[in-house]
C-alpha cells in the first residue's frame, strides 16, 4: 500500500531519515516506535505529502507522492485521515463544527444526517455531550479524541495517527487503542500509528518499525520484536537507560563539558 524507498531527509544539520526503506501493508496496523525527536512525526507528515523529503520516494497505491501536483494529491487525501500530534482542531469552531467540518466541505449531506454521523463518531471516542464546547475548553486528552473523531469522520481507507494516546489516562488510552484496532478489523482501515507506547504497540500492531534518529533499527511482528536478541531492541522495549542506545545527545564527556567554560 505505502512504500518508502531510499528516503533521506534533513533539516539543516539534523538528519531525520537516513536513506530508509520500509513498507506499510494494506488493512494492517503498523506502529512506528522511536524516541522523542527521532523523526517520527516528520516521516508521517511526508508520507501524507505534507512537506517533501530531501530525496527518495514515497509510493502510495503505486503513485510516487513526492512528485504529485496539488490536484492529484488532494484526490489521494480524500482516502486519508490524520490525527495530528497536537490535534490541530480549528480554534474558531466548536467541537461539533470541528468534527462536521470535512462533511460540510466535501458532502451535500443534510444537517440531520450530519448530526447523526457526529453523534456516532463522538460516541466512538467517548465524548458525546461536549459538542458545544470550544477546543480551548477541553483538556489535552479530550482534544486528541476530538481530533481522532474528525480524522475518521469521512471513513477514510488509511488513517495516520501521530501519538494517539500520549497525554491520555490509561482508560482513555485503552479505549483509543481498542478503537484503532476495531476500525482496522471491522472496517479494514489501514492504520499507521506513531507512538512512544511500546506495550500498546505490541498489543495492537501487526508490524512494528523502530526508528532511531533517522535509522530503522528493527522491524517485524510484535512477536519478533518481543523475542529479538538485538541489544538495541531489548533496551528500547524495556526502556532501560543503559545500553547501546545512548540517552545523551552528545558523546562529549559530561564532566569535561561542565568544566568547559565555552558555551
Amino acid at each position: 500500500m505505502i512504500k518508502v524507498e531510499n528516503l533521506y531527509n534533513t533539516f539543516g544539520h539534523i538528519e531525520t531519515a537516513k536513506n530508509i526503506y520500509c513498507h506499510f501493508e494494506q488493512k494492517k496496523v503498523t506502529c512506528i516506535l522511536g524516541g522523542s525527536g527521532s523523526g517520527k512525526s516528520t516521516l508521517l507528515k511526508q508520507m501524507v505529502g505534507l512537506g517533501k523529503p530531501t530525496s527518495g520516494k514515497i509510493i502510495f497505491d503505486g503513485q510516487d507522492i513526492t512528485t504529485l501536483n496539488r490536484k492529484d494529491m488532494y484526490k489521494l487525501r480524500k482516502k486519508m485521515g490524520m490525527l495530528f500530534q497536537g490535534s490541530a482542531l480549528f480554534n474558531s469552531l466548536n467541537i461539533y463544527e470541528n468534527v462536521a467540518f470535512p462533511l460540510r466541505e466535501h458532502t451535500d449531506l443534510s444537517d440531520n444526517v450530519i448530526n447523526t454521523i457526529i453523534k456516532i463518531k463522538l460516541e466512538m471516542v467517548g465524548l458525546r455531550g461536549v459538542e458545544h464546547l470550544m477546543p480551548s475548553q477541553l483538556s489535552g486528552g479530550m482534544t486528541k479524541r476530538v481530533g481522532l473523531a474528525r480524522a475518521i469522520v469521512m471513513d477514510p481507507k488509511v488513517v495516520f495517527y501521530d501519538e494517539p494516546t500520549s497525554g491520555l489516562d490509561p482508560i482513555a488510552a485503552g479505549v483509543i487503542d481498542k478503537l484503532i484496532k476495531d476500525l482496522n478489523l471491522k472496517l479494514g482501515v489501514t492504520s499507521i500509528v506513531v507512538s512512544h507506547d511500546v506495550d500498546a504497540a505490541l498489543k495492537i500492531a501487526d508490524k512494528i518499525i523502530i526508528l532511531f534518529y533517522g535509522d530503522i533499527i528493527a522491524e517485524g511482528t510484535p512477536e519478533e520484536i518481543r523475542n529479538s536478541d538485538d541489544p538495541k531492541v531489548i533496551q528500547f522495549i524495556n526502556g532501560s537507560p543503559d545500553g547501546p542506545i545512548p540517552f545523551k545527545m552528545t558523546d562529549k564527556d559530561f564532566i569535561e563539558d561542565i568544566l568547559d567554560e565555552k558555551i
Binding site: 505534507l50 487525501r77 497536537g86 490541530a88 480549528f90 467540518f101 466541505e105 466535501h106
Partner: protein, 258 residues
C-alpha cells in the same frame, strides 16, 4: 555562508528581496483566483468582512471625528487670518476626502486588523491547523486567505466612506457650532468644490490600501516561521510594512491622480 564581500552581500540581499516579492505575488494571485473558483464559502467571506470591517468601525469613528475637529480648528485660525472662514468646509472636506480619509483609515485598520490577521494565521500554522486543512483536501489559501483578501478590498473603501462623512461631521461641529462659521457657507462652498474626481480618487486609494493591508498581513502570517518568535516577528513586520507601503502608494497614486 557569510562572505566578507559587501557587493556580494548587497547582491544577495537584492535577490532575496526580489524572490520575496515574487513569491508574495504568486501567493496573491493564487488567493485572488481562488475567490472566483468553487466552492464559494459565503459564510467565511461574511465572517472576514465582519472581523476586518465591522469590528474596525469604532476605532475609525473615533479617529475620523477627531481628525475632522482638529482640521477645522487649525483651518479656522489660518483662514480667518485672510478673512476666508467661509472656505473652512472646503478645506476640511478636501483634505479628508482626498488624503486623510483613505490614509488614516487604512493605517488604523492595518494596526488593528492587519496585526491580528498575521497572528491568527501564524498560530494556525504553529498548531498544525493549516496542514490539517491540507489533509482534508481543502486548499488553505482558498479557505483562509481568499476571504481575508476580499474582505480587505471591500471593507476598507466602505470604512473610508464612513471616515469621510464622520470627519466632515466633526469639522462641521467645531467650525459651525463652536467657532461660529456660517452654516450655509460651510456646506455650500464644500458641495460646490468637491468633484466626482476627488471622491473617485479617494475611493481608488482605499481599494489599493485595503488590498495592501490584506496582502501583507496574510502573506506575513502564512510565511511566518512556525515558532512563537516567528509569529511575533510576522505581526510586527505586518504593521511596519503595510504602513510604509500605504504611505508610498499614497504618494504614487496622488501624483498620478492630480
Amino acid at each position: 555562508m557569510a562572505t566578507g564581500n559587501p557587493i556580494a552581500a548587497f547582491g544577495r540581499g537584492g535577490l532575496n528581496t526580489l524572490s520575496g516579492i515574487g513569491s508574495a505575488g504568486i501567493f496573491l494571485i493564487h488567493a485572488i483566483t481562488q475567490i472566483f473558483s468553487r466552492p464559494f464559502r459565503l459564510r467565511r467571506y461574511i465572517q472576514e468582512i465582519e472581523f476586518l470591517g465591522a469590528k474596525s468601525f469604532l476605532i475609525v469613528f473615533v479617529t475620523a471625528i477627531f481628525t475632522g475637529m482638529v482640521l477645522a480648528l487649525q483651518g479656522y485660525y489660518t483662514l480667518s487670518g485672510f478673512g476666508a472662514e467661509a472656505l473652512l468646509g472646503v478645506a476640511v472636506s478636501q483634505s479628508i476626502i482626498r488624503e486623510l480619509g483613505p490614509v488614516l483609515c487604512a493605517l488604523m485598520v492595518a494596526g488593528r486588523a492587519g496585526s491580528a490577521t498575521a497572528a491568527e494565521i501564524g498560530i494556525m500554522k504553529i498548531t498544525d491547523q493549516v496542514p490539517a486543512l491540507e489533509m482534508m483536501a481543502i486548499d488553505p489559501i482558498a479557505f483562509i486567505i481568499s476571504p481575508k483578501v476580499l474582505a480587505g478590498i471591500i471593507s476598507v473603501p466602505i470604512l473610508t466612506g464612513f471616515f469621510d462623512l464622520i470627519g466632515i461631521g466633526g469639522g462641521y461641529l467645531v467650525g459651525v457650532n463652536l467657532l461660529g462659521v456660517n452654516e450655509g457657507a460651510f456646506i455650500g462652498n464644500m458641495v460646490s468644490t468637491v468633484t466626482a474626481h476627488d471622491i473617485w480618487g479617494g475611493f481608488l486609494k482605499s481599494v489599493f490600501f485595503g488590498l495592501i493591508i490584506a496582502w501583507v498581513a496574510t502573506f506575513k502570517g502564512y510565511t511566518a516561521k512556525a515558532t512563537t518568535e516567528g509569529v511575533a516577528a510576522a505581526t510586527t513586520s505586518t504593521v511596519v510594512l503595510s504602513s510604509v507601503l500605504i504611505l508610498v502608494v499614497d504618494y504614487i497614486l496622488t501624483s498620478m491622480l492630480l
